[in-house]
Amino acid sequence: MAAYIARRLVMLPLVAFGVTVLIFALLSFLDPAVRAGAFITNPNQLKAIDSIIRTYGLDRPIYEQYWTWLREVFRGNLGWSQTARMPVREAIAAFFPGTLELTFYAFVPIMLIGVWLGTAAAVHRDRLVDHLSRIFSISFRSLPSFVWGLLVLMVFYGRLSWFPPGRLSLDADLFVRSGQFHAYTGLVTLDALLNGQLWIFADALRHIAGPAITLTMVSIALLVRLMRSSMLEVLNQDYVRTARSKGLAEPVVIDKHARRNALIPVITLSSYTIVSLLGGVVITETIFNFPGIGRWGAFAAQQLDIPGVTGFTMFVAALTVLGNLAADVLYVFFDPRIRLR
């Protein structure tokens, strides 16, 4: 096991290096004046763009430019994001907590409902529940997230006025920005609880519900199918047959013997789910005007804020690589059949 994980860890910097090469290869399609933006940390510098091109050697051969660029990236200087009106690094720090919070509120229902529905579908194979879960999962998979999001907005905000877009209502936002509220983590719902302000917690939850429902709908299908097939496989195993033949009650067999083992691949793949949610936030945050990293990335792409887009992309790529590594490690850790090998 150690050798396998060590191999993955050795590969990690290699992949990270490749990601920077890929991003830089994309950047090299651009005009030097546009690329100079990546080195600007202050809007006043925009006036001296020619001297910046010369200072940073954007008229030099491409491999030299790559090293210069990489050095700056390693120093944490990702440039100035015009859409966020702050350095890219600060923009990521400012927008990421919102996305993290949203991902959490989508991830929990996905796991709970997915495991429950997948188990039910496997236990009652080829019965009504199974067919319904199949129809739901294929329909949810076929409806694009932006159509889902717009439908949710139409019904829950337009018709019912339950889940408004944005992050907080005006009065709650003013209170959060005032001196009376201490931002411990940047996660508004958690901070509200820590400050003992239940009304802010409720308000934040109301705003997060719309995008969280949308993300859940879009991503749940995969988990239901995974849980179902994993459960079906376990139900065919000898130890389940043994448990049944011992005369154990069916609920005990299913809960204690089958489901616990069927959860292994589901848990290990949960970090893939988080990664796919991180991709999904680009659309949902844009629709619900939720100030997170996805809405900023999409806006930066529309406005040709290149430092913003590349900074956003590299940050998400780093998270994805770490998420995939976590999945591999968890898999080896949870499955003794692999560990013993």
């Binding site: 159509v147 139409m154 680009v282 792409a301 290149i306 887009v309 590349t310 995939n324």
Partner: protein, 357 residues
């Protein structure tokens, strides 16, 4: 398969083929007999002929019993998926007949506008699905959008498959260091959520439909490369490949004659599931404002136009339902068709997966 086999097959299924011929002839007569359709068919005879050919081809495939059709008949969902896709193909082919472009238009993909008022107008005769923001006709946009959807997905798959074949083929066939290098290359591309990488590529290359296709192909090729590599690895050690090599067959011949035929079915499953995914990704990029210009017949662009109107008027939350419902339904049914077909292909072609999943 020689000419003799074809004639034998023809005689064997003669009554069924006669039925197909009758269907085709009936449709042709109907199209020419009704005055309205006759006029439109006369304007676009090629589209009509293509569609007739398609109907005959599909019907022939369906009536001649084969292993594939026998298994499809047992699986109603696959028939539904097949029907949906056939319907979309027919709509795409018949676009010039279903929604004739105005005589003055230079590019049929540009949706005709009826004035420039921004408020959408509801469905009525002449505009069966209503008009959206900027008075673009929704029906016209959806019919021609079907052509855009097929063009985008087929081109993207062609590019992704071409790159995937080269990379996966080299990787699986030569193994060792080549394999390691190629697989790390796919790792790099898989280190991004697909939409995020596509957004970046379009942002850098500039926003246009061509760049949307390039971006999605860049995102999708690693899956094909990995699939093909796995298939080659699994057949490489087989006896019949060793036998072919012992008989003096070269690398290219082994790949073309033995490896690709064995890899073709998983490939079909993956690409039909991918067709839907590609159209969703392309529409998502258009929705984010990174696709073709406003007014181009593209479902994602139409949905983007609906964003301002989905909350309706005060007191009438669903006043402009049609601006989202029609393009949303088009894209949903298109993707659903490919997903049903892909799932069914997988069940049909891979009994192992059928047992477990």
């Amino acid at each position: 398969m020689g000419l003799a086999a074809v004639t034998r097959g023809f005689h064997e299924h003669r009554p069924r083929l006669a039925g197909v011929a009758a269907l085709g002839a009936g449709l042709a007569v109907l199209a020419l007999a009704v005055p309205l359709t006759r006029e439109r068919v006369a304007q676009a005879p090629f589209a009509a002929a293509q569609c007739l050919l398609l109907v005959v081809a599909v019907a022939t495939f369906w009536v001649i019993p084969s292993d594939l059709t026998r298994r499809m008949r047992k699986n109603p969902l696959s028939v539904a998926g097949f029907g949906l896709i056939a319907a979309f193909v027919a709509v795409a082919i018949l676009a010039p007949i279903l929604a004739p472009p105005p005589a003055t238009s230079r590019d049929p993909y540009i949706i005709p506008q009826e004035g420039f008022a921004s408020v959408p107008t509801p469905p009525r005769p002449g505009h069966p699905f209503g008009t959206t923001e900027g008075q673009y006709d929704l029906y016209y946009g959806i019919v021609w959008g079907a052509r855009t959807a097929f063009r985008v997905s087929i081109l993207v798959i062609a590019i992704a498959v071409a790159i995937g074949l080269v990379v996966g083929g080299l990787s699986g066939y030569y193994g060792g260091r080549v394999d390691e290098a190629m697989m790390r290359l796919t790792d790099i591309f898989l280190a991004f959520p697909s939409l995020v990488l596509a957004v970046t590529v379009v942002a850098v290359l500039g926003r246009s439909l061509t760049n949307v296709m390039i971006a999605i192909a860049i995102v999708h090729w690693p899956i094909y490369a990995r699939l093909l590599r796995g298939d080659i690895l699994s057949v490489r050690g087989r006896d019949y490949v060793e036998a072919a090599r012992a008989a003096g067959a070269g690398d290219v011949r082994i790949i073309v004659r033995h490896v690709i035929p064995n890899a073709i079915y998983p490939f079909l499953v993956l690409s039909s599931l991918d067709m839907g995914l590609i159209v969703i990704t392309a529409a998502a990029l258009s929705f984010l404002g990174l696709g073709p210009d406003v007014g181009y017949a593209d479902w994602g662009t139409l949905i983007n136009l609906s964003r301002t109107w989905i909350l309706g008027r005060p007191g009438e939350p669903f006043a402009y339902w049609y601006v989202l419902a029609y393009p949303g339904a088009a894209i949903f049914l298109f993707v659903l068709g490919w997903n049903l077909l892909g799932d069914a292909f997988r069940d049909i072609l891979d009994p192992r997966l059928r047992a477990s999943g």
